[in-house]
Amino acid sequence: MTVRQAELLMAIATVLMSLGLMWSSTDGLSISWVSGKGPGSGFWPFWLSLGMLLASLATLFRWFTGATPESRSEEPYISREALTVVGVSVGALLALLIGIHLVGIYVSLLLFLFFYIKFVGRHAWAITILLVIGTPVFIFALFEWGLKIPLPKAVTEEWFYPVYDVMYGTDHFWMYIFGIFATLAAVSLAIHKFAQPQKG
């Protein structure tokens, strides 16, 4: 696909999107200026969506007249190499999000990082294992331990009960803070030591 084609498709998409938003903002809402009260509840979204529509139509018009550089460019929109690396990343992210719903965030993170670092990045085993284990541990320590923000665990929830026993069994808060910083320091030190870019 060339940039020129992409520009047309995107303009059509934005026209459709504007129309969809306009339609949606009329659903049970007043789009008019209510006398004595000012704009109704649908006024702001409706007329601004109309503005979006007009701006999209202007882009479409400029595509036909060839006014913008994008509408004249015959360069490929996404090169084959870029498509591979971006496509793989987007695919892995989608898999990660679906994984969070199915097996919780920690297992999904493990698989995601393993896939990305080992298969996309082709890094050494040492650094792969360090990061694949270290990142989820760090995230757990910071969010669940330090900040008390529970992350979604889906079916793996019960695996964490013994961890909670340890976490909340003691009441030395300062140790937690120290633990987080120690993990952080250890991980960054290790990254510094091992994460030199590979040759070739």
């Binding site: 008390k148 695996w159 964490f160 009960y161 013994p162 909670y164 909340y168």
Partner: protein, 334 residues
């Protein structure tokens, strides 16, 4: 290849062991207690009354070490509490989620009919307090000294009297609609995000009157910036011995805001009992009673479990009547 297989075997073994360890302590447990952090859902945004209460309770639970797992306050303010109610409904059968309510617990399912939430299915735990409302005006309004002069002033403006509130469909908008009906005047209701902002706009004379909670106006009253005219309680509160109730003046307007704790539908009996015990301890604590007194809350009577369910049914019915009487349109505007 060998490394990969060995690694995977190792991971599988580790997971298996964790699962076994996880299973063990659950069986021996005699009395129920939370096994993971408890989600403490607040059906309003940060900084509001419900939020303050939730954070105070969370702090007290930790200070007194009442729970083996922490309570984690999570704000779900979307759609006047609709987001929180839907969330709780979807959590049916969960023993680790509780909700702090305000009156949108009753009104939101009535006004937003397609929400599909029936609050009578929720598990009642305990009522922590009743919040009250007073009618406030700026102290600069020398001509207004009581309800009578207030009604006269409102009527003279012919509908341009500006009443600030926290949003159409919220408690204060219902109370405002009740007053419109009782006194036969019309006002312009202007919503602001949060009771604090409403109070500030009254002090700055951007609005003419409000029906704030005591906590939101007390400091301004002490500084002489605003004054209360009427309270909407059955009897005068100890904190305002000189302010008459609407009832004394012959107008039957009594309105409360309940602050209660509720669980999702189908919470286990053991968990419900545990939470009732926990919040009863908090309710009786000196800290909570002091907070109630300072904030003008009524915390005389502990209502829990089935008694709270009865209270909810009664309140929901009353709100339905109120909304029908004043008309949903009068509350939601447009």
């Amino acid at each position: 290849m060998g490394i990969t297989r060995r690694l995977f075997t190792g991971i599988a073994a580790a997971i298996g062991m964790t699962a076994m360890v996880a299973g063990a302590p659950g069986m021996a447990a005699a009395e129920w207690s939370p096994k993971k952090p408890v989600e403490f859902i607040i059906m309003a945004g940060t900084g509001g009354g419900a939020d303050q209460i939730a954070r105070l309770l969370q702090g007290l639970i930790e200070k007194k070490k009442l729970s083996p797992r922490p309570f984690i306050p999570i704000n779900k303010p979307g759609g006047s509490g609709a987001e929180a109610l839907r969330y709780l409904k979807d959590k049916a059968g969960d023993d680790h989620t509780v909700l702090v309510t305000l009156n949108s617990f009753y009104t939101t399912p009535i006004i937003q009919k397609d929400l599909g939430v029936d609050i009578s299915t929720f598990t009642p735990i305990g009522r922590m307090a009743l919040d009250t409302f007073l009618l406030w005006v700026n102290s600069d309004r020398k001509e207004i000294s009581n309800l009578e002069s207030y009604v006269k002033a409102v009527k003279e403006t012919g509908g341009t009297w500006k009443v600030g509130g926290t949003g159409s469909g919220q408690e204060d908008s219902i109370l405002t609609a009740m007053m419109e009906k009782e006194f036969g005047y019309k006002v312009t209701y202007i919503p602001f995000p949060g009771g604090g902002t409403v109070a500030k706009n009254l002090v700055g004379n951007h609005i003419d009157s409000t029906v704030n909670n005591p906590a939101e106006q007390n400091e301004f009253m002490r500084a002489g910036e605003t004054k209360p005219l009427v309270q909407f309680t059955p009897e005068r509160m100890a904190a305002y011995p000189d302010v008459p109730t609407a009832k004394e003046l012959g107008h039957d307007i009594v309105y409360f805001m309940q602050r209660s704790i509720n669980g999702p539908p189908g919470m286990s009996k053991e968990a419900q009992d545990w939470y009732i015990n926990l919040f009863k301890t908090l309710f009786d604590s000196e800290e909570w009673q002091t907070f109630c007194k300072e904030d003008g809350l009524t915390c005389d009577e502990w209502v829990a479990g089935d008694a709270l369910a009865t209270f909810h049914t009664e309140q929901a019915r009353r709100h339905k009547e109120l909304i029908e009487a004043v008309g949903a349109a009068a509350i939601t505007g447009e």
